[in-house]
Amino acid sequence: MGISKIIEVPLALELPVGPQHPALHEPVLLKAYADGEEIVKVEINTGYNHRGIEKLCEKNSFYRDIFIVARVCGICNLVHADCYVRAVEHILGMEISNRAKYLRVLAMELERLHSHMLINAVMAENIGFENLFMNIMLDREKIMKAKEILTGNRVLSDYVMVGGVRRDIDGVKKEKIKDIVLKTEERIKYYKKVFEEDTTILKRLVDVGKVSASDVVKHSLVGPVARASGVKIDSRSSDKYDAYGEIPFNVITRSEGDSWARMMVRWDEALESIKIALHILDHLPSDANPVPDEKKLPRKIPAGEAYTRVEAQRGELTYYVMSDGKLPNPYRVKIRTPSFNNIISSGFMYVGYTIADLPVILTSLDPCISCMERVTIVDIDKNVSYRLPFKELAKGI
């Protein structure tokens, strides 16, 4: 019996970064197959965070969905609620007052600020810079206080309602938020300087997880991940929703395309958000009462469909809401979150880097697993010499 097949069996280490892991704050299982130190293949295995939100949205009425949809992701909850509410307003053909638009943009920019500070703090923690993590989180508490003053709750702000916002802002609150934002501005400038000069950060982040512009577009990566590779996409400047048409701001892009560039794009965007917030606090129009009377909102939603885009902290977030006019529930709600594209097709980014770079690259994509939890991913080996780990050999080819 001749030898039919020779199987070259290298010792490929299969490293499960399990659903419970000090570095990961959310349940995702990264199975990294590494040959020695170099990562050969990453199998991203999810399913731990799937809560069936789209089916749940079909079972609840339009107004109850605002609060379910806001709980898709804790860090970007206001952006989800705002995008969903604008979709319902397009179906209803309802116009909202200018003041409500400005207040929505102010709340979203405060949320972008604290989200960018959080992901930079988690990146500092993952590369072992514990002290910087503690300092950034300390300053982030001030932004949470500003958000609590504006919307009434620190994280999940339930601030948006069909037809406007749920709380108005008076002079005292405006002053409090203003000096909090001004104090945070110099702190962020200081942290940006630390990220530019500190040798440990530069060694760990520069030239790690490099992505070219054409790869970004082919894999439809969005948000700071795309802008760090020179692709200029930003829903705020293209869709000009809410009050972004009247507020001067510029889209930040860099060209290096590695993890360090992604972090610097986030710091620059944080400074940009501060400029927007200060501009809003100075030019807040007072044309009408932004708080709609929730007792008189229409019960019956006419048939129709709407597709709205919004620039969440991690990229372009889109909502598709369709109502068939008969039921008070939506017929179909489709949520496509930025992490859905960024994490799932990012298997190709890890190939060629060492195991120590795995958490760095994953954190530089700003993973929001609770956003991403829609689908399963399977191993993507991109033109890599296929090596047979023991486990798959046992399963039989």
Partner: protein, 155 residues
């Protein structure tokens, strides 16, 4: 297996071990990570839980209190049970947030078991969506105080 409601004397003796330095292990069973960033914020120097000896344990084997956030999805429910069995005795579970206490807004969904008490025995519930960092610390301090008095009823 010594749990809360075995003999009162035993509970008080064993709980004296962890009363001064309870180490937390945080497991997110399908949460919207609102509660996770609040747990993270409560570890930072502003609230400084190290005054009570509270610290994030590096691995589950060193943990005393398992902080569960999130509506337990069916798939991460098995991982929660396995994690609970891996913890050394005496062990307690704190359910943080409306989703972990009773399922929150997702309790009717098809892929959610709803509430941590359907998978593991829970010692302390901290409602709120998300509870403030002070509320989380307040819950843990209440659990520690309850351990001293040892007047434990529920399993």
């Amino acid at each position: 297996m010594i749990t809360l409601s075995s003999t009162k004397e035993e509970t008080r003796k064993t709980c004296k071990i962890i009363r001064y330095s309870p180490w937390l292990v945080h497991f997110n069973t399908g949460a919207c990570n609102g509660c996770d960033i609040e747990v993270l914020a409560s570890i930072t120097p502003l609230y400084d839980p190290e005054r009570f000896g509270v610290k994030l344990a590096p691995s589950i084997r060193h943990g005393d209190i398992l902080v569960v956030t999130g509506a337990v999805t069916k798939k991460s429910g098995e991982r929660l049970r396995r994690l609970y069995d891996q913890m050394p005795n005496p062990k307690f579970v704190v359910a943080v947030g409306a989703c972990a206490v009773d399922g929150g807004v997702f309790y009717k969904s098809y892929s959610v078991e709803g509430g941590a008490d359907k998978a593991v025995p829970v010692a302390m519930y901290i409602p709120g969506c998300p509870p403030r960092p002070e509320a989380i610390l307040d819950g843990i301090v209440k659990l520690l105080k309850k351990l001293e008095t040892g007047d434990e009823k529920n399993e």
